[in-house]
């Protein structure tokens, strides 16, 4: 700024030009300040609640720390313990993988199925949509308690199964049947996924179906070659969200495990409901192994980032966006 005034007096137009440029620069600077002022809540929040925690949890993950005494640097010990000697870690990883591998496809299938039914009824669409969506409105804790009751060994579901002369599993009391019980509950709460699929299905242009009909495609071919490519972005979205939700899977399992008896450890029965977050909760907030919990959360951070990137990269091959870009 000061250099401008030192310059020898220029021709009037030139002076006006520099004046204009300076004013423009000043207004750009002002705009920047205004924008930053508007952004300030998020900037503070991002630094305090994301940037700082992620970095400092990286530090804590190399320490042994119980909050009461100062953290002690232990190098890679937490990670070494996690991958080589913590059996429950692998149990939790296995259970989480089970949830992702079973519940996510189940929700996508049932979501597409119920949404397809909805596209085929004309009268009463609003009613059916409300009914299918209603379960997702039930708070998770209440829904989990409800399913603990529905699936208790002498409960209504087993009464129906017994009436039909089918085997009556012990559900949440049996390590083999506990996760399928949770899958049943997740299927009941498919409404959100269904609504998104419904919107996508209704967005498919009818001309495409007509063209397929003219070329003699059957219903299955029509689904495979028209519907599926058109709704693939939504399938992609549902899979990404499903994978992330797999990692934060906690509430249902916690409520179910503790429903039998308050003293039940997280993961009851026999660690069959011990999920990744359950393990993290156990280590950090019941055992106060903060360093180890930080290591667990860092592994979770890296895996989620890698999964999301992989999903986004692989999506180029199978997600079809309207407009022909592949």
């Amino acid at each position: 700024m000061a250099t401008v005034t030192v310059r020898p007096p220029a021709a009037p137009e030139k002076a006006r030009a520099t004046e204009r440029r300076r004013r423009r620069r000043r207004s750009a600077w002002r705009r920047q300040l205004v924008a930053l002022a508007f952004m300030s809540p998020w900037i503070v929040g991002f630094c305090a609640f994301y940037l700082y925690p992620i970095l400092s949890s990286l530090y804590f993950s190399f320490t042994r720390y119980d909050i009461l005494t100062d953290p002690v640097w232990v190098g890679l010990d937490n990670y070494k313990f996690m991958f080589t000697s913590d059996g429950r870690f692998w149990t939790a990883v296995g259970n989480t993988a089970w949830v992702v591998a079973v519940i996510v496809p189940l929700q996508v299938l049932v979501g597409i199925g119920t949404a397809t039914v909805l596209t085929r009824v004309r009268r009463g669409l609003g009613f059916y949509r409300t009914v299918f969506f209603l379960p997702t409105m039930v708070p998770l804790v209440a829904a989990a308690l409800g399913f603990v009751f529905l699936l208790n060994p002498g409960g209504p579901v087993n009464a129906v199964l017994g009436f039909l002369h089918l085997p009556e599993p012990l559900w949440f009391r049996d390590p083999v049947w506990a996760k399928p019980g949770l899958a049943l509950m997740a299927t009941w709460m498919v409404g959100q996924t269904m609504i998104i699929f419904l919107a996508a299905l209704l967005d498919v242009p009818t001309q495409l179906y007509e063209a397929a009909d003219i070329e003699g495609a059957g219903p299955l071919q029509r689904f495979r070659h028209v519907t599926l490519p058109m709704i693939s972005p939504v399938i992609f979205f549902a899979v990404v969200i499903g994978v992330i939700n797999g990692f934060r899977y906690f509430t249902e399992a916690y409520v179910v495990s503790k429903a039998g008896d308050w003293d039940n450890p997280v993961g009851t029965p026999q660690d069959s409901l011990l999920f990744y977050t359950s393990h993290l909760y156990n280590q950090g907030f019941e055992g106060f192994h903060m360093g180890y919990a930080a290591a667990l959360s860092w592994v979770m951070f890296v895996v989620i980032m890698v999964c999301t990137l992989l999903l986004i990269r692989s999506s180029r091959r199978w997600v079809h966006y309207q407009g022909g870009f592949r």
């Binding site: 949890s57 209440a142 998104i196 999301t308």
Partner: protein, 291 residues
């Protein structure tokens, strides 16, 4: 059916008409069967909540005397209103915070041109992907040092510093408002704050209502964070926590009272849902298709 469509429609051959009727019947049967499967859990839970203790032992499904007093008996050992007040504080104040902090940020991300906007938006989107569990350990330690554990502060105060999901949805909506409206206001001498408050916010009321509702329900239902921060202090339990801890409050509580408590907890949510159904369905669709 309007007159025009009747005129243009050719008579349908009876064979095709018969097939159409059959298809409609088939579709509705499937839809009704599915509806029953989705509704049966509700039916069992409500009927259980109305049963007497003796009936709980039997295998009958229909409550024979309807024991409505289950709902009032509940209050004797379950300070429902105190927990409801905590839930209301968390959800209400949290929603105020999320909306107040989200609106200006969404405005800067959608309607102002400045350096670093793209970067900020990418960072915002990446935090959208991160579950709370990733940052929970250091935050817990900070809240311990601040002496906030056992209070509602760790739940509410962070919400006054922007929530990624809210900001994202508001930004998507702000983008759809024509730029000419802001330009006109600017010509009339309005600054950005005035444009935001007098032009954008009035136009974005439906979107603001939607994010407020989403956030209210998220907080009302939230379990993980309240369990961490308020777990040991019953004075700050929210309803979600207290419901889960009912088994501890009175050992051997029977399922009928537990179901009654669950219904009391769920009812406000369902009432909100029925009054604002359109907001929900449209909001969920917006996140899915445009996200």
């Amino acid at each position: 059916m309007s007159a025009a469509s009747v005129v243009t429609r050719r008579p349908v051959p009876p064979a095709i008409r018969r097939r159409r009727v059959l298809m409609t019947v088939a579709n509705h049967s499937v839809a009704i069967a599915l509806s029953i499967m989705f509704l049966v859990p509700f039916a069992f839970i409500v009927s259980t909540a109305l049963m007497t203790n003796q009936q709980m032992g039997s295998l009958s499904i229909w409550p024979s005397p309807f024991k409505w007093s289950n709902f009032t008996d509940l209050f004797e050992f379950f300070p429902f209103w105190r927990f409801a007040w905590n839930s209301l504080l968390y959800a209400g104040l949290g929603t105020v915070g999320v909306v107040l902090s989200g609106i200006p940020v969404a405005y800067a991300l959608s309607r102002l041109r400045w350096r670093g906007r793209q970067l900020s938006f990418v960072l915002l989107l990446s935090t959208l992907m991160l579950p709370v569990q990733v940052t929970i350990v250091p935050l817990y330690i900070v809240f311990v040092r601040l002496g906030w554990i056992g209070s509602l502060k760790p739940l509410i105060i962070p919400l006054f510093f922007g929530d990624a999901f809210t900001i994202f949805l508001l930004r998507q909506f702000f983008m759809t408002i024509p730029q000419e409206l802001s330009d006109a206001a600017r010509v009339d001498g309005a600054n950005d704050l005035q444009i935001l408050l007098r032009v954008i916010v009035p136009l974005a009321k439906p979107a603001i209502a939607a994010v407020a509702l989403f956030n209210f329900l998220y907080c009302w239902n939230d379990f993980f964070s309240p369990l961490l921060y308020a777990g040991n202090n019953p004075d700050t339990w929210t309803l979600a926590i207290s419901l889960q801890q009912l088994t501890q409050l009175s050992r051997g509580i029977l399922a009928n009272l537990q179901m009654a408590a669950s219904i009391l907890f769920t009812l406000p949510v369902l009432v909100i849902f029925f009054f604002a159904q359109k907001v929900f369905v449209e909001g969920v669709t917006l996140t899915g298709v445009k996200g």
